[in-house]
């Protein structure tokens, strides 16, 4: 018989763990009915020698386990396993050995290599001879256990209800059981699945499909460098319910996260295809360091989720508080950790699945601007009659928004996955293709993805795994997020007068003849710079796990993360007068960052009596090298040949290179007593090359505890509660400066003439001063939470309160100019404090055979405030050229990056100028950070139909609408918002829109609260409807599953915001520039249809 040691040891491991949780002695007296096997089993003939003096039986068994393939399986209660005996056995069979060890008081059964120990039944003892004959008379039931996908479940437990009779399913999911009673029912259970009871009746053969138990406390979830049971969590960890999400038309991982987890705010700041969302976990906690979570993909610390095709993601776990994230110590763990597990093959079944979809996107709304008559009227108002436009020109009426927005931008996606596994290994291969046109002409993204996951058991103690995740994106962008006058196409579509022609006489895109400031029309900005950004993203690793003995295992993992991009652009001299003037301009910018990671962990897990102890110690080494190369040339020989070799004038020829490294050692221990009291503590020390030698190392400690109240005796009468747990945790994490050598006094290269026509190299002191005292930025976080489940897990509630403080903030503090420097990177005194409360409620409202409805609601409140920073620290950001300078400030007692400016009190009816409060004193105008965010997910199943609705929203945040500021600027010969027809025209006019003025000495057009808007919104992010064809329908098609679906994204939004979309993010992940809208690429609404097929 072929052996499968890994499988059997897993099986034993799982059951052993189970014993601690579910005190079902039944499980432990499982009777193997395949006793006939035992006699022919090779293991029964294995010769064992034992020579011990005064040794506990448990140790004897352990030693036999660790030196043979035999595995013991027993209930602690059936015998005193701590009894010390003295014994000599010389090359006897297992049967003899057991009878000697237990002095004939214990019976055993052998299934393959598993020795099941059980009490000797008195009846059997009295009638040993007939026992086998009795068995043969019993009725034997056979069956197959599968998961919800139909894959066999090996190791499921089958128990005849009301007896001690039971078995487990074999490798192929098959079982057979000899019934003790005629009218029996079987209870089938498997970790992570809902237990099922089947009435046997007349049938002798069953196929039983188990459905996964999402709220199961026994579910094993991934945490840093290990796993834990969901029920044993002592910190704040969100396990995302991704059921079915990956089988839909999801183009980006951010879409999977949005709205689904309390405390996790996903901001899709741009509608540009391929633009990654920013993710903020529990607020903003760093001034200039990283604000984004740490992404860990299959155990490999990565830059982003860019290497992942969402279709290949199995699980996402978010470590929100420091007691959970602290094991990652540095590198942004202050902002939480997102752990992603990709899909793996399942043993025993080969499966091909295809998800294919197609759809269209379009712009959600357009912004009304002046028509030609309105524009002329405004020009005359502004500039006198000097701006009169000839009537012939006014015949032209270009709706620029219609010209740049596609009516229906197509998207198609196909994902195919092949997976499967044999006894010793499994594989998953996923291929993906996405072709997504943006809603703005010319923009789009083509993404190719490949994911390969392998798991292999090499021998009884060594196993091997490997992941390879690769995406290649071809992104075409359009210039956005800036003023029209600096090239922003979205704004240009608003401020370009409608009477402007599209083309000049020479065929180039028109610039503004009648208006000001070298403005191209939006099509000129879009098509004038043909660009393509090719991004290759790889996250891959190889890992080995060695079992040292049954309690101790060692894992080594080598990972490589590669981010490579290649940006090329060409300004065609035939398309814009600007490019014509320089005979074409081409750029080629390339960059690569390669990170190497080497992690080693030793994992110890031991249960004795009521104690359970788990210890991990490990180390992690990583190193990254980054280089870029920038080249721009002009004067192309021929506009059809766009490679730089055909251009003669060099404009930019530059390169950069840097490297960093991180060395870490860590340990974590968790201990639980009686499965009621849990405690976890971890320690990590990190050394980073980014800090000066003396300050390189920093240690991070965490501790957290849990109390399973529902296990206490006083709760034993409260039947409806299935979980009630209190969690308390404290932890420390760290953050590093963004630059690789920002602490160093760096010299930069320049040039000076060495003769009349030649220059020679020189060095000069850079504008940033070094700082040999720079230290780690640290944050500590306290978290208290409660988990509650009731009514067979139909209702789940979880709430957390946290308080997070960031100290030693790394910040480039301005130095006086007289030092010769502009700034110096320092550890700023003071704190950023985030305090918050968040909760999640999940409820299975209806659970009927053909109708079910589950709902999940989460809400998070976060309060961000900066305290105790020095008064001399000037932290302003969000520069708005020509419009008043910096729009945000970070100062004491305000949220980070608050809007700062004059408070407008409306238009003075006499002058037409704005009246500013407090003589125009700059003050707080609002915060870009929401008071609270929420998500609401509904899943409704009716027969074959499945309806899924995701709603999310934010409330209490402000958006600075720079786009509108430009549209109501009224001091330049540009087109303006349709609203300015209501502008002040003459003394006595009562209006909220000031006068048109070129000089604008009052600063009506500059930064003020006039342009601050409420950014709250409630949005139906996704509505998906799918139809699942049942087996009988598709039987003839030779496929095993077929599902059709349709979904609507972003179709309904409730907001007062007047711009395209309130969810904007000009500043990306920068903490100090949030909530500034400046002609940002609008988010689209999308309609998709698709299907899933399985073979």
């Amino acid at each position: 018989m072929k052996l499968n040691p890994l499988l059997s040891s897993n099986w034993q491991y799982n059951l052993k763990k189970l014993t601690n949780v579910v005190k079902i002695s039944v499980l432990l007296s499982v009777i193997m009915t395949l006793s006939s096997f035992a006699h022919t089993n090779v293991y029964s003939q294995e010769k064992i020698s034992v020579n011990v003096e005064n040794t506990e039986i448990i140790n004897i068994l352990d030693n036999i386990e660790s030196t043979t393939d035999l595995r013991f399986f027993y209930d602690n209660d059936i015998y005193d396993f701590n009894k010390k005996i003295t014994l000599t056995i010389n090359e006897e069979t297992i049967a003899t050995a057991i009878s000697l060890i237990f002095e004939n008081n214990i019976d055993f059964r052998l299934k393959q290599n598993v020795v099941i120990l059980e009490k000797v039944k008195l009846t059997e003892k009295n009638n040993e001879v007939s026992s086998e004959e009795d068995d043969l008379e019993q009725r034997v039931i056979t069956g197959l256990i599968t998961d919800n996908f139909g894959s066999p479940l090996p190791g499921a437990t089958i128990i005849e209800v009301g007896t001690n009779n039971g078995t487990t399913s074999d490798f192929d999911g098959n079982f057979s059981i000899a019934l003790e009673n005629d009218e029996a029912s079987l209870q089938i259970s498997f970790i992570g699945f809902v237990s099922q009871t089947v009435i046997v009746g007349d049938s002798n053969s069953f196929t039983i499909q188990l459905s996964p138990d999402e709220s199961s406390l026994d579910e094993i979830i991934v945490t840093g460098y290990g796993t834990t049971r969901k029920g044993d969590i002592t910190s704040s960890i969100s396990v995302l319910d991704l059921d079915g999400v990956g089988e839909k038309a999801i183009t980006d991982v951010g879409q999977m996260l949005a709205g689904r987890s309390a405390g996790v705010r996903v901001v899709q700041g741009s509608g540009q295809p391929g633009a990654a969302p920013t993710i903020f976990i529990r607020g903003l906690s760093s001034l200039s360091g990283n604000t984004q979570p740490l992404y860990v993909i299959d155990g490999v610390v990565s830059y982003s989720l860019g290497a992942l095709d969402p279709n290949n993601i199995e699980d996402i776990t978010v470590l929100k508080d420091a007691s959970a994230a602290g094991i990652y110590g540095a590198a942004g763990a202050s902002n939480g950790v997102v752990l992603v597990t990709t899909k793996k093959g399942r043993k025993g079944e080969y499966k091909v699945s295809v998800n294919s979809y197609a759809g269209f996107s379009s712009v959600i709304k357009t912004i009304p601007v002046l028509d030609n008559a309105g524009t002329v009227d405004y020009f005359n108002d502004l500039n006198g009659s000097g701006s009169s436009i000839p009537a012939a020109e006014l015949a032209i009426d270009n709706n620029w928004q219609d010209l740049i927005y596609r009516e229906a931008a197509p998207v198609t996606g196909v994902n195919a996955a092949i997976s499967g596994g044999g006894e010793n290994g499994s594989f998953f291969v996923g291929l993906g293709y996405l072709d997504q046109d943006g809603i703005v002409v010319s923009s789009g993204n083509k993404r190719y993805s490949l994911s390969i996951n392998l798991d292999q058991t090499i021998n009884e103690w060594l196993s091997f795994g490997s992941h390879f995740n690769y995406t290649r994106s071809n992104v075409k962008t359009i210039p956005d997020n800036m003023a029209a006058r600096f090239g922003g196409a979205i704004q240009a579509a608003l401020v370009t007068p409608r009477f402007q022609p599209i083309f000049n006489d020479d065929g180039t895109y028109s610039t503004q003849a009648r208006t000001q400031g070298g403005l191209n029309n939006p099509l000129g900005y879009i098509y004038g710079n043909d660009n393509l950004n090719v991004i290759n993203n790889i996250v891959t690793d190889v890992n080995f796990t060695a079992k040292i003995n049954s309690d101790l295992s060692f894992k080594t993992q080598m990972g490589v993360v590669i981010l490579n991009n290649h940006y090329s652009s060409f300004k065609d001299p035939r398309l814009t007068s600007e490019a014509k003037g320089v005979k074409g301009e081409g750029s080629l910018n390339t960059g690569e960052a390669v990170r190497f990671i080497f992690d080693n962990t030793l994992n110890y897990d031991k249960t004795f009596d009521k104690h359970q102890l788990g210890v991990i110690i490990g180390s992690s080494t990583s190193e990254e090298k980054i280089h870029t190369s920038l080249q721009t040339k002009r004067n192309f020989a021929n506009a059809n040949i766009r490679t730089l070799n055909s251009a003669s004038e060099t404009i930019v020829n530059s390169a950069s290179k840097s490297a960093w490294s991180l060395q870490s050692y860590f340990a974590r221990a968790n201990y639980s007593f009686d499965d009621k009291y849990l405690i976890t503590a971890s320690f990590r020390t990190d050394g980073s090359s980014r800090l000066p030698k003396d300050n390189r190392w920093e240690s991070f400690k965490t501790i957290s505890a849990g109390w399973k109240i529902f296990k206490e005796d006083f709760m034993s009468d409260v039947d409806f509660i299935s979980d009630l747990k209190l969690r308390v945790g404290y932890g420390e994490t760290g953050n590093l400066p963004a630059g690789t050598n920002s602490y160093a006094y760096r010299l930069l290269f320049n040039e000076y003439a060495i003769d009349t026509f030649t220059t020679g190299p020189g060095v000069w002191l850079g504008t940033s001063s070094g700082n040999n005292n720079l230290e780690w930025e640290t944050s500590d976080q306290f978290n208290v939470g409660i988990d509650f489940s009731a009514f067979d897990n139909k209702l789940y509630f979880s709430a957390d309160y946290y308080s997070k403080k960031t100290n030693n903030m790394i910040y480039p503090l301005s130095l006086p100019w007289h030092t010769g420097f502009f700034d110096q990177i320092v550890n700023l005194d003071g704190q950023i404090e985030n305090t918050g409360f968040e909760f999640a409620i999940n409820a299975n409202l209806v659970e009927k055979d053909d109708f079910s409805w589950s709902t999940a609601f989460n809400m998070s409140f976060n309060d961000n405030v900066v305290t105790n920073i020095p008064d001399t620290a000037i932290i302003t950001d969000g520069w708005l050229q020509n419009l008043g300078g910096n729009v945000t400030i970070t100062k004491n007692d305000l949220p980070i990056g608050s809007f700062w400016g004059k408070i407008s009190e409306g238009v003075d009816p006499q002058t037409g100028d704005l009246i500013f409060a407090d003589n125009g004193k700059f003050q707080f105008m609002g915060s870009p950070l929401p008071d609270f965010t929420y998500g609401f997910v509904n899943e409704i199943n009716y027969k074959n139909w499945d309806l899924n609705i995701v709603i999310d929203g934010v409330s209490g945040n402000e958006v600075y609408n720079t786009g509108r500021q430009e549209l109501e600027e009224m001091r330049l010969l540009h087109n303006q918002s349709a609203d300015i027809v209501n502008r002040w025209r003459k003394p006595g006019d009562i209006t909220n829109i000031p006068r048109a003025t070129i000089l604008d000495q009052n600063g009506n057009s500059k930064i003020s609260s006039r342009f601050v808007e409420d950014g709250s919104y409630l949005r139906v992010r996704d509505i998906s409807l799918s139809y699942d064809f049942k087996e009988n329908v598709i039987k003839g098609l030779n496929i095993s599953g077929l599902r059709l679906y349709a979904n609507l994204k972003n179709w309904f939004t409730i907001t007062d915001y007047t711009g395209y979309t309130p969810e904007i993010n000009r500043g990306g992940s920068s903490a100090t520039i949030q909530g500034v809208d400046y002609g940002t690429y609008p988010q689209p609404k999308t309609f998709n249809v698709g299907m899933n097929i399985e073979f």
Binding site: S49, V50, N51, V52, E53, N54, I60, I64, S66, T67, W461, Q516, G517, I548, F554, F598, N600, T601, I617, S619, T621, I651, S656, S658, S661, Y665, S689, K693, T740, N741, A744, R746, L747, F749, N750, E751, Y752, A753, T756, T758, T759, G762, V763, W764, L765, T767, S814, L815, P816, W817, H818, T819, G820, F821, T872, I874, G885, L972, L999, G1003
Partner: protein
């Protein structure tokens, strides 16, 4: 305690495997980094101060960079802001048509991005820092191939550069913080003017003793510090501090060195074809390239339509429109005419009659009746940022006239007249008719105005001549011949010195604002 179990099947190998695994595991966990210096990651594309000064070549690199920073990194001060401070603030030019920001407002802006009063401060200190790192580190270099004279040459030039930048600071701001090492106090108080000048003199005396009279060729002699450039600056410092004997002595040393002479044709100084002449004492080099080129000519902006260009100039600060700097006063043209000085007038200005000489009508050029600075002449025009037009920061005729001025002040009027006439003769002007000390002083002032028009000298010439109170009275009394806002020049003594940028006052609590602001 004897406690062992033996199993026949492969027992030895199995045990060894487990032991080896455990040892391997511990080894990998605790000794996985490659080496001790794994965490040392020096910058790969930059040098750091530690480790950048080991050889003679390193010292030369830093010195070239100290000059380079004056042309490549945020260079405004010595491109054109020196004329804003020295000419526009006086009576040679003005800033833009009515309705724009005025001369003083421009210079006195305390915050914002582009104001000369801020840039001149920031840049002088930044350039001075480039000299400081040489003075901090070059003495420590141990290189057998680095001879004493080579080291002195480099240190001398660094001393000269530092003095040059502090001279500009002291003239514009009076009391300023003295930063003499980049390792020093980041938040010092201001040093009194006298102390600043004393430091400048110390630096220049060292430079004078360390530096050669001439470098290998004329290009290097005019573009690098020399004994002559140190002496010239000493002469300028001493007239500024009123020590005319010393000023005359050092100007005399320059004249006696034989290194410098006036170019025969005055126009060669400005025609762009005769750079690094015998007259150049310190000439800032611009080579046509994006790195080392200049946009200097285009910034001597003629009057234009304000509104058209307001929008397309990047760099506008908070709330101010882009003015036209250095629009020539009609009165300057009248001064040329009064002197009968057609040669210098023709070289230094463009008036209505010779507007055709403009190579490139500058953007937004609106008013044809306004005179324009010479910088638009003879092929000079907007070259983006890559023009090759050098800037003459010190030249020989300035030193001759300073010697004349200093000698006249100490009573040697006759000798002064000979030097004044040397300069006049070059532009075919008859010897001066002035004879008394006071007449000669006024003649020298007038001569300097025309000889050094738009070279950033006029304001301090006037200040020396009239004194602080007198200068304010003089500026207030100017008539507005061109219908322009000359009256917006300093109207009170405190305005003769620029305010210290508010940013630095905010950050450095030890700093005190100049009086009156």
């Amino acid at each position: 305690m004897k406690n062992y179990i033996t199993i026949k099947k492969n027992n030895k190998t199995m045990k060894n495997v487990f032991n080896i695994n455990l040892i391997l595991a511990m080894t990998l966990i605790f000794f996985n980094s490659c080496s001790e210096d794994f965490l040392d990651k020096a910058p790969l594309d930059e040098l750091t101060v530690d480790g950048a000064f080991n050889t003679k070549a390193d010292a030369e690199l830093a010195l070239n960079g100290a000059y380079g920073t004056m042309v490549t990194n945020d260079p405004h001060t010595y491109r054109w802001f020196y004329t804003i401070v020295g000419d526009m603030r006086a009576d040679n030019s003005h800033g833009g048509p009515p309705g724009t920001i005025t001369n003083c407002e421009l210079l006195e802006s305390l915050a914002g991005d582009l104001e000369p009063g801020i840039w001149n401060w920031y840049e002088a200190y930044k350039y001075s820092a480039a000299a400081n790192i040489i003075l901090d580190n070059v003495p420590k270099i141990e290189d057998p191939n680095f001879s004493d004279s080579e080291r002195k040459n480099i240190l001398g030039q660094a001393y000269f550069l530092r003095a040059f930048h502090y001279y500009h600071l002291a003239r514009q701001y009076r009391d300023v913080p003295l930063i003499l090492s980049q390792d020093g106090d980041l938040l010092p108080a201001k040093s009194p003017e006298a102390e600043v000048y004393a430091q400048i003199v110390r630096d220049l005396e060292l430079a004078e003793s360390y530096l050669p009279t001439e470098h290998a060729n004329r290009f290097l002699t005019s573009s690098r510090g020399t004994k002559g450039s140190a002496q010239s600056l000493l002469a300028k410092v001493y007239v500024e501090t009123g020590d005319y004997a010393k000023a005359a002595e050092y100007a005399g040393k320059v004249m006696d060195s034989g290194v410098y002479s006036l170019v025969e044709t005055y126009d060669h100084l400005w025609d762009g074809n005769h750079q690094n002449t015998t007259e150049a004492i310190f000439e800032l080099q611009h080579v046509a390239s994006t790195m080392t080129g200049t946009y200097h000519p285009a910034q001597m902006l003629p009057p234009g339509d304000l509104t058209i260009h307001e929008a397309d100039k990047p760099g506008e600060g908070v709330g101010w429109a882009f003015p036209r700097f250095n629009v020539l006063n009609h009165e300057l043209i009248e001064a040329f005419d009064e002197m009968g000085d057609s040669i210098r007038k023709w070289s230094s200005t463009l008036t209505v009659t010779d507007r055709s000489l403009m190579s490139d009508p500058p953007l937004g050029f609106a008013d044809p009746t306004e005179p324009v600075s010479h910088t638009y002449k003879n092929g000079r025009h907007w070259d983006g940022f890559s023009g090759r037009w050098n800037v003459l920061l010190m030249r020989y005729s300035d030193i001759i006239l300073l010697r004349a001025e200093a000698l006249n002040q100490i009573g040697q009027t006759a000798e002064a007249i000979t030097y004044l006439n040397q300069v006049r003769a070059r532009v075919k002007l008859a010897p001066t008719t002035a004879s008394s000390q006071s007449e000669v002083a006024l003649a020298i002032l007038k001569e300097r105005r025309l000889e050094l028009a738009m070279e950033g000298q006029r304001f301090w010439d006037l200040k020396r001549y009239y004194g602080e109170e007198g200068l304010v009275t003089y500026l207030k009394g100017l008539t507005d011949t061109g219908g322009n806002n000359l009256g917006k020049n300093p109207t009170s003594v405190h305005q003769l010195y620029l305010p210290i940028p508010q940013r630095d006052l905010d950050i450095n609590p030890n700093l005190v604002q100049n009086p009156g602001y």
